[in-house]
């Protein structure tokens, strides 16, 4: 990895970002050079005591020149800026919209480490293995302060917030080991909060997945957590307590007791576990205790995966 200039291009977006980078460098470089040359030229030609001819009446000469150049040096930069803006924004918007078939990987940041979980249950710390050529989507949250997931070789960076899920996606294009940095200052060991992204050939990746299968997959881990934390006591099939049935819940609109309706997404489930009294589903009593302080963000993600895996009841007869 070279330390001069842009790092290796290891994602599909990196190439396009670099093209834009070089284009902007070229335009600004030429302009800066133009200004520099003009300054040096005028500086030498019109130094005090030089023989160069000056206009009799400089203010009037300036006024004449102004009419010619002022509009030009306002409009030309404007046009260049608009092009750069459109070009850059297109890449940015694409970066914000992950494809539907992306592999979902869950990221939990905490002072000062990255914890990553594959949908198959493989868990990693400060190292992430991904296959080449396949879109990967990261769903990220933080357990404490704001962090930022930064992979220079992918030209990608996204802040990771506590209390919210942010996303980032990419398709790696080149096998190798790349730096992962935390880019948002997060306290004492901020500079040590890093790791590696390991891009592997899809076949190698499959092998890696199998070798590291040790644990059960994420939804299965969620299911056992569901029992461990006693969720099944109320939300389970045979529970006598009047609690919402979670089968098929994910992605559906949920009417709340205050008349609002929210979509049961990651955030809703997350908040319902930690702050059960904030958004009460209509028709239910606010009796669920809060699990704040008892359950880690990575366990919550496993629970979410489990709830996602629950198909609506009529489709899955028991």
């Amino acid at each position: 990895m070279s330390a001069f200039g842009l790092p290796e291009q290891a994602s599909s977006i990196a190439v396009r970002v670099d093209h834009l980078f070089y284009a902007v460098t070229l335009v600004t470089g030429v302009t800066a050079l133009g200004v520099l040359i003009a300054m040096i030229f005028f500086g030498i030609r019109y130094r005090e005591g030089s023989k160069a001819r000056r206009a009799e009446d400089v203010p009037a000469a300036q006024a004449r020149a102004r009419r010619r150049v002022e509009v030009a040096w306002t409009l030309i930069p404007l046009l260049l800026f608009i092009s750069a803006f459109v070009w850059a924004s297109r890449i940015y918007v694409e970066r914000a919209t992950p494809p539907a078939d992306a592999i979902e990987i869950f990221v939990v940041a905490k002072q000062w480490m990255w914890k990553l979980q594959h949908p198959g249950g493989q868990r990693e710390i400060e190292e992430l293995h991904i296959p080449r050529g396949q879109p990967v989507k990261l769903v990220m949250t933080s357990q404490d302060v704001i962090h930022s997931f930064f992979v220079p070789a992918f030209r990608l960076k996204q802040d990771v917030l506590p209390g919210a899920y942010t996303q980032m996606w990419f398709t790696a294009t080149k096998v190798g080991r790349y730096h992962l940095f935390c880019a948002e200052y997060c306290g004492t060991d901020h500079s040590r909060m890093g790791g590696d992204i390991v891009v592997m050939e899809p076949a190698d990746f499959q092998r890696w997945l199998v070798e590291h299968r040790g644990a059960v997959d994420m939804a299965a881990r969620g299911e056992s957590l569901f029992r461990e934390f006693g969720c099944s006591g109320c939300h389970g099939q045979n529970a006598s307590v009047h609690a919402p049935n979670l089968a098929g819940l994910f992605g559906r609109p949920v009417p709340l007791s205050d008349g609002r309706t929210v979509v049961a997404d990651e955030r809703y489930i997350h908040d319902s576990i930690l702050l059960p009294r904030q958004e009460i589903a209509a028709g239910y009593a606010p009796i669920m205790p809060s699990f704040a302080g008892q359950i880690g963000e990575d366990d919550i993600l496993a629970l979410i995966e489990y709830i996602k895996s629950l198909a609506p009841e009529k489709e899955r007869p028991r």
Partner: protein
Amino acid sequence: MTASPAPALGIAGQFEDVRQRHAAATLGMWIFLATEVLFFGALFFAYSIARAQAPDAFAAASRHTNIVLGTANTAILLTSSLMMVLAVRSASMEARRTTVMLLVATAVLGVAFAAIKLTEYRLDYLDHLVPVLDFAFDPRYERGARIFFGFYFATTALHLLHLSIGVVVVLAFAWRTHRSWSPELPHSIEIVGLYWHFVDVVWIFLYPCLYLVARA
């Protein structure tokens, strides 16, 4: 225009004449009030964002504020503004005694506002509504209510601070007017009045945000 000689130096030697001085002071006060708009504006903005995130908790918490005292205080403050504007008026007519009385009335109403506000704080404390002390609230809304009362105490305390400064300044001018008359007084009192009215305007917005969120 011709070059004019520098006037005798002393107070406000930087000004050419009284009119320039008045215009400068008025403009200065209004710019200061514009900064206050942004100061309190940022607070109202943060309040709105917090309220949008926990509307029910804010509604529930607001019901625990003391609307009788709050409304009475609003009326008192509006009346103090009337006293202030009348003081400005009588000062401009050089009615010295009336001016002093009206300024004192303004300050007394200000003190009454503060006294009621402090009583309210005491009642809030007894109701366990002070976040850092023994806060207790309906567990459904506890989190949001804590934020609401955080804003409640922060905003009212900042307002009270502004009001207290106003009371001191108004009393100082009452004393100055009582001691001796000077031709600058009407204008100075007018500028103090601008500040006083502004503190009133801040309260006009605080009142519905704190007391009237959901009374129905």
